[in-house]
């Protein structure tokens, strides 16, 4: 019943997409389209929440007679699908609400509106798909719709190259997924997920499927080393689409991995968990180090998405390892941590992208080195961005801290794992996770501090204005969700119980019944956390301090020039820039990871030219991995180029040769 409702919502989104093509000419086209997608997404969100919380009676499956004639199109909503539908539709609703305000500045609405609705429809369909063909078809639809959105402003520098790279990586990913599903379906060719679940594959085949699923879905999610398209493509799209791609589409890719690895592959193996967790750890650190080196606000956020995907995969890997060893409650803990982080990240990453979109609308700039002092001009955006930064840096009492805390608790349960490799790997992954969390805080001090604080570094920053109320309202709603999820995490963990029960065979202890809304991951004697109480205590302490100060201290305040150690009236150019802020970290970590080299050219005394400092960063992955492949492909293509210029006789010879070869094969096969 709920499934029919959800499919009608998807149908409505597709109808909006088609209707937007002619409607784009209207003046209020964007308001209409985004309003329509907002209402449909909100409806789908409500249905999905009902499915997750109510469970059994609302779930179900359905087959539509579209697609392949002998297969049809299977759809199903179960606990996992309901959870990811919540993530997708919350993000979609947020982006639509934001778009109502942001879309007014869109210069080519006809290139954005139809594909936006189609993108939302495709993402919903991927989560609902219950057979391989539907899954792949809707996956490709999602990729193409987002590619069209990336290419919406294709005349801007760099966007076309980003779209090209995205198309190549997306096609490659779909190819890997196609092979994975082919292996899963087996020689009998049963493509429905039901059939695949009933016939789990042999060990070797399972390993190949895992690798292919990680390559295919992992490249869409942003796992190292397949993440290279993400920081180019995500920023190229309009800001609300960037939020959708980073916050939601990567989660749909995570859904793909979870569905294939946890659901369709049967019992996991421990080395699969080790591999996934290790990939997650490396991705987390690489992502955040890249983010620290960036000074383009949207690219920084995109690299940060890579880091958070790494954290999610750490949780998934631990869940696999625990599941392989039969430690079901620990697997439930790790899986809950990963899925809660999926939800949290989609919320605060969308919030941060909306903030950067507001900055872009207001100033026309994405480069942090030209911004500054925006907190005075755009106070509401700055406040929401601050909440998002605090949430993503895993600071209590926000939600980012809760999911990281749960992941750490899962790591602390890990000594019970018997395999030697895991005993060495898990503490290393714990160290990587701790390192990435600390670096993420540094990154967001830089992002918020250089963009919003300080003094304006350019005229555009000096003349910025607050954006429209739709955008601001969206950001504040998401900031409120961040706080609520951080302060009342018990309810969210309980809501995830049906998902972990279906995938890991156990659930975390029920949290809603505990005193004072504490959460207890394993046992009360072991650890507990109470977000609400902590928030109240901090507020109480701050209030007490403020009250005491108010009463007994001097309340006088006067404004004056900055002290700055006595330098009079320094220009805003003497402030720290993004590059200078991350210079110590670049020196310590970057010289190893990026082969970062600094060169300083100081002209001789008396020369009036300014001194210059050049920083060169090389992406080692690009040099080692992608450049050789591109070289080989280019070489082979050059050799094959000769085929373009043959004579008619040569072409006829080719056709003749192919025919003779096929006949010989037929003869031998007989």
């Amino acid at each position: 019943m709920a499934l029919t409702g959800l499919l009608w919502c998807v149908g409505a989104l597709l109808a909006v997409s088609v209707a937007a093509i002619p409607a784009a000419r209207l003046r209020s086209a964007s308001t209409l389209v985004y309003g329509a997608t907002l209402s449909v997404s909100a409806l789908a969100l409500a249905i999905a929440i009902a499915c997750l919380l109510a469970g059994g009676p609302l779930l179900g499956a359905l087959t539509l007679p579209v697609g392949l004639p002998w297969l049809g199109a299977h759809f199903r909503v179960d606990a996992l699908a309901a959870f990811f539908l919540i993530v997708v539709n919350l993000g979609a609703a947020g982006a639509s609400l934001y778009g109502i305000g942001y879309g007014r500045h869109e210069e080519a609405p006809g290139r954005v509106l139809p594909f936006f609705a189609a993108f939302l429809a495709a993402m919903n369909l991927v989560v609902l798909a219950d057979d391989a063909f539907t899954f792949l078809f809707t996956w490709e639809l999602m990729s193409l719709a987002s590619w069209a959105l990336v290419m919406a402003h294709h005349r801007r520098a760099g966007n076309a190259a980003a779209g090209y790279l995205y198309l190549i990586m997306a096609s490659f990913g779909t190819l890997a997924l196609l092979l994975a599903f082919g292996l899963l379906a087996g020689p009998a060719g049963g493509y429905a997920f039901e059939a695949i679940r009933a016939a789990p594959p042999a060990a070797g085949v399972a390993a190949a499927v895992l690798a292919l699923a990680l390559i295919g879905a992992g490249s869409k999610a942003g796992l190292v080393p397949l993440h290279v398209w993400l920081p180019l493509a995500h920023p190229a799209a309009p800001s609300h689409v960037s939020a959708l791609m980073s916050g939601v589409m990567t989660k749909v890719a995570v859904y793909g991995v979870v569905r294939i690895v946890f659901d369709l592959l049967g019992v996991p193996t421990w080395w699969a968990g080790a591999l996934v967790a290790l990939l997650g750890g490396v991705t987390a650190v690489m992502g955040v180090l890249h983010a620290l080196m960036e000074h383009d606000l949207k690219r920084l956020l995109a690299y940060h998405t890579v880091e958070n995907i790494g954290i999610i995969f750490i949780g998934l890997g631990l869940a696999l390892a625990f599941g392989a060893n039969g430690m079901r409650p620990a697997a439930a803990l790790a899986l809950t941590a990963a899925l809660f982080h999926v939800f949290n990240h989609s919320v605060f990453k969308s919030l941060l992208f909306f903030g950067s979109g507001a900055v872009l609308t207001s100033t026309g700039l994405r480069d942090m080195e030209q911004l500054g002092g925006l907190i005075h001009r755009m106070p509401l955006t700055a406040f929401a961005f601050l909440v998002g930064s605090a949430a993503i840096s895993a600071l209590p009492p926000f939600n980012g801290f809760v999911s990281e805390w749960l992941t750490f608790q899962a790591i602390l349960v890990s000594p019970a794992l018997p395999q030697w490799l895991l005993k060495f790997l898990v503490p290393a992954i714990g160290a990587l996770l701790a390192l990435s969390a600390a670096l993420a805080a540094a990154c967001f001090v830089k992002a918020f501090g250089v963009t919003f604080l300080g003094r304006p570094r350019s005229d555009a920053a000096r003349s910025a204005r607050e954006v429209d109320r739709w955008s601001v309202a969206t950001m504040f709603v998401l900031a409120a969700v961040c706080l609520v999820a951080g302060v009342l995490p018990g309810y969210f963990i309980d809501a995830l119980a049906p998902v972990t029960r279906s995938l890991a065979g156990a659930r975390m202890p029920p949290q809603g019944a505990l005193d004072w809304l504490t959460i207890v991951p394993v046992a009360q004697s072991r650890s507990s956390y109470n977000g609400l109480l902590l928030f109240l205590i901090i507020a109480f302490a701050a209030g007490l301090g403020a009250e005491a100060i108010h009463r007994w201290a001097s309340g006088a305040l006067r404004r004056s020039a900055a002290w700055d150690c006595g330098f009079p009236d320094a220009s805003p150019a003497t402030q720290y820039t993004a590059g200078s802020f991350s210079q110590p970290i670049r020196r310590v970590f970057g010289s190893v990871v990026f082969r970062a080299r600094e060169e300083v050219h100081i002209p001789p005394p008396g020369d009036l030219r300014p001194a210059e400092m050049h920083v060169r960063l090389r992406d080692v992955l690009w040099d080692v991995f992608y450049a050789p492949i591109a070289g080989v492909v280019g070489y082979v293509a050059d050799r094959f180029n000769k085929v373009q210029f043959l004579s008619i006789r040569a072409y006829l010879t080719l056709v003749f040769g192919a025919l003779v070869a096929l006949l010989m094969v037929l003869a031998v096969w007989q």
């Binding site: 030697w420 060495f424 310590v588 010289s591 190893v592």
Partner: protein, 220 residues
């Protein structure tokens, strides 16, 4: 009482690993030699403790030799060599100190992986002590290959010897004769190396082994 004795022995072994890491951390010549004196001191204390709990008086002599020769005489001699050669400055490393320490952690992990299955029949603490002794050996080798300086290579070589002593005394007993001969060979090796250092310094005005490459006859 027995548990305490094993704990203290374990603490000494672990302390030796810690001092080996401190050796890797040093970036100044005098600090390196002082740290090596501490290394030898810890080894002599560990051997003395083993002598106490194993009731093997000949190990006291081993401890005394380690203390006198390696903790007092050799560092004193090295200090004099350093001052006379005029090389008391910072030590250049091949890769950064952070990466060297990370490699050191990997070596400790490797020693644990190798040693724990082999010594499965012994008690937990003895297993760890042997794994620590192997790691001290490997860390000494790491020090030799990651420094560009001849004096640091001498120190690394000595710390390998300390690791061997720890392993041998930890596994119940080493005859005194063997120990005296080993100690003498170390002393001879030091004298020879010291002589060579002086000759190298006289000839080439440097003890940086990188600079010595040019005289091997292979480079143009």
């Amino acid at each position: 009482m027995d548990r305490l004795a094993l704990d203290v022995a374990h603490l000494f072994a672990g302390g030796l690993v810690l001092v080996s890491f401190m050796l890797l951390y040093q970036d100044r010549m005098t600090g390196l030699v002082n740290n090596f004196a501490l290394h030898a001191l810890v080894v002599s204390l560990a051997v003395a403790w083993q002598a106490h709990i194993q009731h093997a008086p000949h190990l006291y002599i081993t401890a005394a030799i380690a203390l006198v020769v390696k903790a007092i005489v050799i560092p004193f001699a090295l200090h004099r060599i350093i001052v006379q050669l005029g090389i008391h400055r910072t030590i250049e490393t091949v890769v950064g100190i952070g990466q060297t320490m990370l490699a050191g952690i990997g070596l400790v992990a490797l020693s644990i992986i190798v040693m724990l299955p082999i010594t499965a029949k012994a008690g937990t603490l003895t297993q760890q002590d042997l794994a620590f002794a192997l790691s001290v050996l490997l860390l000494g080798l790491l020090m030799m290959i990651s420094r560009r300086n001849a004096v640091s290579q001498v120190v690394g070589f000595m710390s390998i010897e300390n690791g061997l002593i720890l392993a041998a005394t930890g596994a119940k007993g080493m005859p005194l004769v063997v120990e005296i001969s080993v100690a003498f060979s170390i002393l001879i090796a030091l004298i020879v190396i010291g002589v060579f250092l002086f000759r190298i310094r006289e000839r080439f005005d440097t003890v940086d082994i990188h600079a010595l490459h040019e005289y091997r006859g292979e480079r143009p």
